[in-house]
Symmetry: C2
Subunit: 354 residues, 2 copies
């Protein structure tokens, strides 16, 4: 059987659920590799993928006998097929964080499960630890992102707008083999950098501006996430000090990230270094990266986390002074037993573009 | 009070709900113009927008006294504030098609409403009839889409890939004042045109290919939706006949669309003309367009629909021969009392690019 579904079945047994209805397309792609609309149904003996005429041909050509997944056009199933599917299951799980209340009601009517229970992110919890194949895809997404950064440093000029830079990033990704953006690109300049979630505007990049770029490619469904902040033509001593502080804590945290380390303690030490300099850690230090750009786990002073081998997380401290400036440096990092491996490798030394 | 919320309150009264929890960001933007994360809460006397520190400043600068919306940072509210909010409401509505089962449970705990009831798309139903201001934005989105089509006709060449054409469309939109894409662009060439939901691939456009482009700009939150199919260098007599048939039924349907006409009957006559020529109407004839590219109403032989003034709908018949060809022609159309006004105006005559 498909290895990931076998692993899922072990977790289902441990959780005491005999059936599962999976409708989140990211979870379906994770478990099966399929990119098609439909539902993955798992009962005691079988794995069913219910889709429609638009996808059935593609789905059948992609699945192999080893997958042990039966694909069917929903039109070829009748009400009894659905009613029978979970006949032997006492508890059937569903994705409570994805399924709308309306769809939940439809599931009750369609399958009449004995007990419909929250699956409690059973698949999302599997996704925290990445396989070799997944790591390769994230690495490739990070490589494209690194190349794009070099391209942007070559092209960015005083007089360009934030939106123009964002468009250049998108174009580079598409032309260099990415699926597209892992998330909406942030290009912020000048005082706009002080908003952690800035949206690119028509603001013209000027001499003396800090420019913060938070971006990442998606490759075969996997995300990269990187932030760099640099300066146009000149930088004040005040900003230089902030930059060096952010860079210093980012690199120190990076060194501490490895299997067995505590995410909360690493985050706390960043928070301490910031507060010793009268700054706050305004947002979490980092988050998991995989098929979604924000997924489990979270690195934060207030969330307990034991890091494990083959987690992929970000390390992204930032300092923001409202209406003035924001400086953030972020890498996507692979957690290993003895150390951490940054998958985004772009230079972090203070850069002043002349 | 904000005019749209006043109208919503009339509908709430008619539906017998005294309170409403709105969390779908599209509905929030529709009612308030706000683009900020949060919840819009409506009770007997007040309209509350609960957001967070990231947005509160922007929100307060956007709202006017006439809006009669009180914006608050959720951090400044305590459990009692939420419990008191719907004190006088017997029935409180929520968006059952947007709220996940998990969030539904949280609403129950947070507000303890006497009765939490499905709002039954109360806002989506308002959105079916467009205001003058909304029509202007859709018109502008359609104008940008028309200009983009001319640009693509100028630029498309044998040897380009579908993906390159899609990227050119995206770039044109961004450089010409659009927010971005109204939806993922379809660029299909050759046999790929036979899939109604094709995704742009690296297939190289060749002489003799049909090219189908289904695309639309988004402008200030409003969508355009247009499809054109043209041919590279040459066309067979068989395809020419199909093209003329599709164009003919599309234009006939366009003439019938007006206030008081039946969407199902218009769709049936398209279906009849297709079946007289041994083709099927594989998908609906059209759908509403507004803040979402697919919204209510649906034009289909099997869905009863009385068209009303200031609905905006598409008219998009298509013929698909599996593994061979697909030809679709689509306009976004404003329904008026005496006639219909196509908002996308690009030429529909058979076009062979030499």
């Amino acid at each position: 059987m498909n290895r990931k579904i076998s692993q899922l079945r072990i977790r289902m047994e441990a959780s005491g659920i005999e059936g599962l209805i999976i409708s989140n397309p990211i979870n379906i792609r994770y478990l099966t590799g399929l990119e098609a609309e439909g539902y993955l149904l798992i009962n005691e003996n079988e794995n069913f993928f219910v889709t429609d005429a638009r996808y059935i041909e593609k789905v059948n050509s992609k699945l192999t006998i080893e997958d042990e997944i039966i694909a069917q056009d929903g039109k070829d199933l009748d009400q009894d097929d659905f009613l029978n599917f979970f006949n032997n299951a006492q508890k059937v799980g569903f994705e409570e964080d994805y399924v709308t209340y309306e769809k939940y009601q439809r599931i009750l009517i369609k399958y009449r499960p004995k007990e419909l229970v929250e699956a409690s992110r059973i698949i999302e919890n599997m996704r925290i630890i990445k396989s070799e194949d997944e790591i390769e895809k994230i690495e490739k997404a990070c490589n494209i992102t690194d190349s794009c950064y070099l391209h942007i440093l070559d092209h960015i000029k005083i007089g360009m707008t934030e939106k123009q830079v964002a468009l250049e990033i998108y174009d580079f990704f598409i032309k260099n083999g990415a699926d597209g953006l892992a998330f909406d690109t942030i290009v912020a300049s000048g005082e706009n950098t002080s908003m952690p979630h800035a949206v690119p505007t028509n603001r013209i990049i000027k001499a003396g501006d800090p420019v913060l770029i938070d971006f990442g490619a998606k490759y075969k469904g996997y995300c990269a996430d990187m932030t760099r902040t640099f300066f146009m033509q000149e930088i004040s001593d005040e900003y230089k000090k902030i930059y060096e502080l952010v860079k210093n804590v980012q690199e120190k945290a990076l060194e501490k990230i490895k299997s067995g380390a505590n995410g909360n303690e690493i985050s706390k030490s960043v928070e301490n270094e910031f507060s010793m300099n009268d700054y706050d850690l305004m947002h979490a230090l980092g988050h998991g990266v995989g098929m979604e750009v924000h997924e489990k786990p979270i690195l934060s002073p207030r969330i307990n986390l034991d890091l494990q081998e083959n987690m992929v997380v970000t390390d992204e401290p930032g300092i923001y002074i409202q209406g003035k400036i924001g400086i953030r440096i972020e890498d996507t990092i692979l957690v290993k037993n003895m150390n951490s491996i940054p998958l985004t490798k772009s230079n972090k030394n203070l850069l002043i573009i002349s």
